[in-house]
Structures are given as C-alpha cells and as structure tokens.
Amino acid sequence: MANEITFLEAIREGIDEEMARSPEVFCMGEDIGAYGGAFKVTEGLLAKYGDARVLDTPISEAGFVGAAAGAAHMGMRPVVELQFIDFISCAYDMLTNYVATARYRAFLPCPMVVRGPSGGYVRGGPFHSQNPEAAFLHTPGLKIVYPSTAEDAKGLIKSAIRDDDCVLFFEHKYLYRRVKGVMPAGDHVVPIGKARVAREGTDASIITYAATVHKALEAAEQLAAEGISVEVLDLRSLLPLDDEAIQATVRKTHRVLLLHEDTRTGGIAGELCARINETSFAWLDAPVLRVAAADVPLPYSPPLEDYVLPQVADVVRAVRHLLAW
C-alpha cells in the first residue's frame, strides 16, 4: 500500500511529531546523530532539529540515563536510545534506584523515555537479543510498553513521550522492517495500559506481547483450520497491565495460554498467572499454561536459537493440549 510504513519508520514518525510538537523533547544516545542510530530509527532527526536536540553521547548508559533524569526534573522530555536494549542493565541502578523512586521519595517528575531494540529471532546471540522487561516489571515507578504493530509503535511512542513518568519502550527488532502498517490520520496516540484484542476467538485465549503476538496469530490461523477458535490478546503495555482486558478474555474462553519470548522462570507469565488465579479461578476450565523461552542465555547458532525461543508449532501444540484438558 502506498501509505504503508514499517514499524521502525512508525517509531521515527512518532518521535519526529513529538519533537515538532514540543521543544522540551530531545533525543540522546550513542551514534544517533550523524549515523542515525544502529538501526536508523533516528535517521534524519539531526538534520531537522540540530545537535542541541539530537545528542550523540559517550558510551555510558548510566551517564546519559542519569542525565536524562536530571533534565527531566527541570521540565525537559528526553528520549534516550539504548543501542541495544541488552545494555539497559548498565543503567539498571539509575533506572531502578534513582528514576523509579524519584516521584515517590522526592516528588521529582521524571518524564523520560528509554527506548531500544530488543528481542531475538534474529541470530543476535546472548547480548543483542535480550528481553529484559521482567526485571523492570518488578520496579514500581516505571512503565513498560512493548508494541507488536506499526500503528501501536507510533501511537505508544507518542504516549510514552507525553507521559509524566519514565516509560521503558521496547522495540522488537524482528518487527522493525518486517511489520508494516498504515498510520491513522491526525494525532495518533495509543493509551499506555490498554491491551488490544488482536484476534477474536471463543475456545481459548493466548495472552502475549511483542513478536510472539505474530507467532500467536499464525498459530491461531492454523488452529482455525482444525475448527479451534483462538483469541489473541496483545498486552501492548506490561506496566501497568490491563487487568480488565485480561479478565475479559479469560472469562470469555475459560482456557488460557500465556506466551512470551522472555525466559520462563521469573517471566511475566508468572505474574499474569497469579493475577488470573486471584481474580478468575472460578472461570477456568483448565490450568493456565505457559509457552516461553528455555531458561538459558540466548544462543547464536540458528538451530540453537530456534530450539530455545517459542515457535508457532509450540503454540499450536500447547493450545491443543489446553483444549484436551
């Protein structure tokens, strides 16, 4: 389609619109200026807005995430790029101890976005494929957004930039150029904290987010051929979670598969399962099941990575198992 743009371009468009809309918005990160970022998300922004608003930084995630917090206290709205989200651990202290607590302990606003390419299925190996979202789910004070469509990527980056708190914005790099969409006209903003029903169904629900939304949709298509109707709920926001949408789908289909690309133990599925248990136990016709990555660092070689990460066939088998209960 003529007006179709990629997931990556949708993020760029969202940042660009917010920079044009508000002089407080500026970008900071490694190689984001002249080079346009490792994946070219910020390409063109330096030429348009100048080096006062598109800052190339030293290699120091703690340094520039901390600096973003300080600038945010003073009314700026920094959008920080981590070259790969795997490097967010270098700023873990700053995010969890400083940023996340600032409003609560000191009434200091921290309107900032920390964004970066995440996720696997791209043969990136242990340090260019991570999904570290669960580490931050456990941190009150942060928000976490992880879109799966180009439209949501744009609408959510705009919401994240306008949010008065710190939003971690995960950009699945598998989706960057594979997923495309036509942007709704006008000021397209998607609210943080609202899930999206990606496919309606009646027999079972797959609750998931990011790249595995597409695995779930593929699996649902295959299962439809067998006469099984699967609903897919795309969480979009992980913190806060949309409890209402989760409960609605559970109470609709009574069978739930939790699917994520992050490793199984301590992954977000555990928290979702606990919430479903606490609120909707009486509606369940089967135990809540999980499909997630194996509990290993993500390996590089294709047979290894394919074995570790959830695949469509895994999802299909798991849903069949759920229905046979």
């Binding site: 703690a62 340094g63 600096a67 917090a69 409003r103 609560y104 000191a106 949010d163």
Partner: protein
C-alpha cells in the same frame, strides 16, 4: 592570617595542618554581614547536629544519624558561592549546604524523626530531601549517581541558555564508582555548567583513602576529563568559598566543568553507630584540637576581621533559639498514616488493587490522591 603553630602530629595518623591561605579575590569581596552569615550557617549546622544527637539518644530519631562534624566549612562555604537560581545536590555530610540553600532545621528534624509532615512525608531518611524551588535536589544512597543526574540538570540549563549553575558533591569514596566517571565525562564532553566537589575527608565508612585510590589527590583526576582540577583547605571557609566561587563563575561564563577537591576530615564515624575503631589513636583528638573549622573561623573573625566576641555570642544564641523552636515543633508533628505509603508512585496512578487481607487499606486508594497536591511544590 598569621600561620598557626601546630605541634607535631603523632606518628601514623592522618594530620593536615591548617593552610595559611591568603584571601582570594572572591573572599575579599565579602562584606562583614556575609562573613557573619557564613559563621551563622556553620554554627547552625553544628548545633542542629548536636540536637539531633540528643534526639537520637532519646530514640526519637528513627534511623541512623549522620554527622558532618569538622566538615561544616566545606559544606557552608561552597554552597554560599551559589546564587539563588543555582541548584546543588548534597551528600550525606552536606546538611550545611542545604541549610544555606534554604532547608530549615524544622524540616531536618521532622525528616530524621520520620514525621508525616516531613519534606518526604516519612518516605525517605535523614537529609535525603530536596526542593527544586529553593535549589537542592535530594540525593540517593547510591554514591556517584547524583553526578550524571546533576549533569543532566546542567544540560537543561545549557539547552535553554539559562545562566544557572549546578553544584554536585561527592566524597572520596564515590570517586571510585562508575557513575562518577560516566557523569563527569558526560558533563565535560557536553561542557555543561557543573561544579563537582570532591570532599576528601579521609575515610569512606572505614576505608581510608589509600585503599580507595592509588593517586595522591582527587583533583588530579580532572586532567583525564580535560577539565581543571583545583583544591582548597576544606576547613577554611573563606578558602572554600573562594575556590568554589571561581568555579561557579567559570561555569556560568560557559567555560564548563570544574573539579574542586576540598581537603577536610571526618571527625565522626560513618553514622552515629560507628565506633571508629579503625581510626589510629590520637587522630580524632589531633583534628579536634588543631584543625576545627569553627574554631579556626572564630579566631579569624575576631582577630583579622575584628568581630567582637559579643556579636558571635548573639549568633550562637539565635541559633540555639531556632533549634529549640524547631525541635519543639517537630516533636508535635504527627507520624504519617500507613495508607499514605500507597500513593504517589506515578503522576497518573493506576488504581491499586486493595489487598483484601489488609484492613483499612482501601482508604488511600479510594482517595486516589495525586502527588501534585502535596510535597514541596504543593500547598503545604
């Protein structure tokens, strides 16, 4: 000032004779009233901390108590070099800096006593509080973290072309952290209006400088960042003021970051519970007897600047009255309500599901209180 004759220090101890620093240009420009004001802040710092010790012994201080005994000159003299519009971030031994910037004894005592109307509403301890309007940002416990954060505050001033300066304090120990390095490097590269003060007080908790740092002086680190590194006798309030003021003016003129090392000595333990068993015998006594910043300043005020002793006694009496009044008022303050703990994590808080097993917990949640309605920027 005539050179003081100090007897030889016992062997094996860290001793530094008071330096006979001639008055610098900025210190020379101070008037009588400002010199007396410096004395007031230093005396207030010491007297307020002594009162906190008394409250601590009465178990009215809920957490630990951190003293800045012997470091009052470095805290007060440096903060005094800032203007009203400038912003600082203190360390745990910079209560004096915060007082200069407008923090009140009442706030400090309420904070230590974990009162509901303390600046953080009982959420944070000791002097971990701030107020952007008055120009100080509360620190966190993770040493070095405030350097990147304050570099960011300074970056916002640079971006908006506001002629404001940022001052961030670290101790000798914090210079070992990655955050210190990352923050200072970022600030130097961006040439933001930041002054970074390293308070070299000899110890980080129990660890003496030689186990922290293989160099001689902390100011020497500045060369690696391409910024000036300067040093002053941290127990000489006028020298501290002078060196900091020069760095502040340099920053305001757009010339970038300065690393200022203030050489002082920590006369009390890390916190009040620390018995300082690791300090060589005689060291604490030597500093108390020969290099106390208040004694030195009193001697200088009365001799060099001819301030009558009665004027200083008036200041002492005023400080005592203020600390007494603040103590009485803080003691009357209420403790916070438990449910206050649940609000204010987010600007637009999600509805927190009430824990069904905790009676009464729904109250604060139902109120759905916004943080804008309280705290330092609200209408207390």
């Amino acid at each position: 000032m005539p050179k003081r004759t100090t007897p030889a220090a016992p062997p094996g101890i860290l001793a530094r004779e008071p330096r006979a620093t001639p008055l610098g240009p900025h210190a020379r420009a101070l008037g009588d009233a400002q010199r007396l004001e410096l004395y007031y802040w230093m005396r207030l710092t010491r007297t307020l901390e002594e009162r906190l010790v008394a409250l601590y012994k009465q178990t009215k201080v809920v957490g630990g108590l951190f003293r800045s005994l012997g470091q009052e000159a470095d805290a007060v003299g440096s903060a005094f070099a800032l203007e009203r519009r400038d912003i600082l971030s203190p360390l745990i031994r910079n209560m004096g800096s915060m007082l200069v910037k407008g923090a009140t004894p009442l706030e400090v005592i309420r904070q230590y006593m974990a009162k509901g109307d303390s600046p953080t509403r009982g959420r944070e301890l000791n002097i971990h509080f701030g107020d952007l309007d008055r120009g100080f940002v509360g620190q966190i416990s993770h040493l070095g973290d405030m350097v990147p954060v304050m570099a960011g505050v300074a970056l916002s001033f640079k971006m908006r072309r506001e002629p404001r300066v940022v001052l961030v304090y670290v101790g000798d120990g914090a210079t070992s952290t990655g955050a210190f390095h990352e923050g200072l490097n970022f600030a130097a590269v961006q040439k933001v209006p930041l002054v970074c003060i390293v308070e070299n007080n000899g110890y980080a908790y129990s660890t003496p400088n030689p186990r922290q740092f293989a160099g001689e002086w902390f100011k020497d680190k500045a060369a690696a960042y391409g910024i000036p590194g300067v040093q002053a006798d941290g127990n000489d309030v006028l020298a501290v003021y002078d060196v900091t003021r020069a760095a502040v003016e340099r920053a305001r003129a757009g010339e970038g970051v300065t690393l200022v090392e203030l050489v002082t000595y920590r006369r009390k333990g890390h916190a009040e519970h620390d018995n300082q068993s690791y300090v060589p015998p005689g060291e604490l006594e030597w500093w108390a007897a020969h290099n106390d910043p208040l004694d030195r300043y009193v001697a200088r005020l009365t001799s060099e600047f001819r301030v009558p002793a009665a004027r200083l006694a008036e200041v002492d009496a005023r400080v005592q009255r203020e600390v007494d009044a603040a103590t009485d008022e803080a003691e009357r303050s209420p403790m916070p309500e438990g449910t206050d703990a649940l609000v204010g994590v987010y600007a637009d808080p999600p509805v927190v599901p009430a824990e069904w097993y905790r009676e009464g917990v729904t109250k604060a949640v139902e109120r759905h209180e916004r943080p804008a309605s309280w705290g330092t920027s609200g209408g207390e």
